[in-house]
Symmetry: C2
Subunit: 125 residues, 2 copies
DNA sequence: GTTGAATCTGACATCGATGTTAGCTTTTAC
DNA sequence: GTAAAAGCTAACATCGATGTCAGATTCAAC
């Protein structure tokens, strides 16, 4: 598929897709005219990349991590080095803490939203 | 307490604490000489602010939200307007999605970490 | 009063993914 | 062949919380 379709199917902008390629996170074939051609598999990969960015990893760590991930079509092409494993463990724990904090914030928001809907001046009950 | 203690007890930098105040997220009394004096309650508040920042809210939304939150010492001082409730609901749902994605990323990291520790070339089992 | 630690204000810097624009080339549909 | 749509590269802009530095003032201890 070409970049437009990948944009549509992932919700990620052209700009970002090209940036991912530049950072070594995504590869593409080229048509004779120089247009990018992506395999079906790219959709899932792009979504993974987005998730990892959202989890606070930077391009470099993601670039190191990606070859060690199990793809949809098979096992990982590389095994993480001890050094990388150490780094990823730190990230993993950070993500876990972040999840707790997010759940906290969500509960806070729920409480505020709830308090408003139960407010005697405008609530339903 | 003064700012140094608040830094120690929250892990948030002086710079950020002053920024929070400037954004209307945090109030402080002043000594006759102009130094900030925080109530005990500030510790909890600062941690909440940090969590909300981590959840992707910006200063402005947090500023609107804070007066509607239940403090440790009592009920909320304001009830969220319908407009604010609508905004917060959007954020709430976004946070929920973010939690799912983070859990995804964490599982991906676990898998990579796990694969390395079970690697026949260096694993324990 | 003196001195060192703590705090103050204000300005400038940073980081990194993403947005945006411009100008050009390729592809596609007719 | 032509025209519109899609893609390409390259460069510059942005955003917002936070870091950092400089120079001045206050506080606390002696």
């Amino acid at each position: 598929m070409r970049i437009g379709e990948l944009v549509r199917r992932t919700g990620v902008s052209e700009r970002s897709l090209r940036y991912y390629e530049q950072q070594g996170l995504l590869v593409s074939d080229r048509t004779p005219g120089g247009h990018r051609e992506y395999p079906e598999q790219a959709v899932e990969r792009v979504i993974r990349i987005q998730e990892l960015f959202a989890a606070g990893l930077n391009s470099k760590k993601i670039a190191h991590l990606l070859p060690c991930m199990r793809d949809a079509d098979g096992g990982p092409s590389e095994i993480a080095t001890p050094r990388l494993v150490a780094e990823l463990s730190v990230e993993r724990d950070r993500i876990d803490r972040m999840i707790s904090e997010l759940a906290n914030s969500r509960d806070v928001l729920d409480e505020v939203i709830n308090a408003a809907s139960h407010d005697p001046r405008r609530g339903h009950s």
